[in-house]
């Protein structure tokens, strides 16, 4: 877990929250996680800065009742830090990590796809000719359903496009 801790120390939290531009649930989850991390680190720092050994010699010389000191020393020696089984938690964390990595990869794939689409659109915009020069053939080549719709209307004996007059006005001179 040493590597994990050093990684956690190296993490630049402000950079994460500003540069990635995270929003919504992810951002709040990240905030909560950061808070937990900060709290835990502060607690560890506080605890480790406190003295861990007791000068029993000093107590023995100042106190008359050395038996009490001996008893306390015995207790102190007998004290062992309670081992806490974190295996299950680590397992849960690992499972969560797998899940997170998977969803992150999914997000990455989606973002990449979006990026590619956007690049294509950008290229389209850059190479597009002015709207005045756009021909019906070009639009119909991009959207074949225009031709199929035309064919359908004409074969049914309909010679007007629904919604056209409402949008472009009626040129009828009568």
């Amino acid at each position: 877990m040493a590597a994990g801790r050093s990684a956690a120390l190296k993490l630049d939290w402000t950079k994460i929250s500003t540069s990635l531009g995270l929003k919504g649930q992810t951002a709040t989850a990240l905030q909560a996680f950061k808070k937990r991390n900060d709290d835990a680190r502060r607690k560890v720092n506080l605890l480790s800065s406190q003295p861990q050994s007791v000068d029993f010699q000093h107590y023995r010389s100042t106190l008359n009742n050395t038996a009490v000191v001996d008893e306390i020393q015995g207790h102190f020696k007998a004290f062992k830090p309670a081992t806490y089984d974190v295996g299950r938690q680590i397992k849960a964390i690992e499972a969560f990590e797998v899940q997170a990595v998977k969803s992150a990869e999914e997000t990455k794939g989606r973002v990449d796809g979006e990026l590619r689409e956007l690049e294509k659109t950008l290229e389209n915009i850059e190479t597009a000719r002015p709207f005045e020069d756009l021909t019906v053939d070009e639009v119909a080549a991009a959207r074949p359903d225009i031709d199929s719709r035309t064919e359908q209307l004409v074969s049914k004996g309909r010679w007007h496009v629904p919604g056209y007059k409402e949008k472009f006005g009626d040129l009828s001179v009568l």
């Binding site: 019906v136 119909a140 225009i146 209307l153 007007h160 496009v161 056209y164 949008k167 472009f168």
Partner: protein, 48 residues
């Protein structure tokens, strides 16, 4: 009045008939569908 001569009468009618048929065919097959296509394109473009 030569148009009263049956030959010219028939000639005139035949010409008019053939031309009308040809015009109706070309209009309905090639020219008018292009208007519908143009209108379709315009409607589609404004929907983008």
């Amino acid at each position: 009045m030569p148009q009263l001569v049956p030959f010219y009468f028939l000639n005139q009618i035949t010409f008019a008939f053939i031309l009308l048929i040809v015009m109706i065919y070309i209009f309905s097959k090639y020219i008018l569908p292009r208007f519908v296509r143009l209108f379709n394109t315009r409607v589609f473009i404004t929907k983008l």
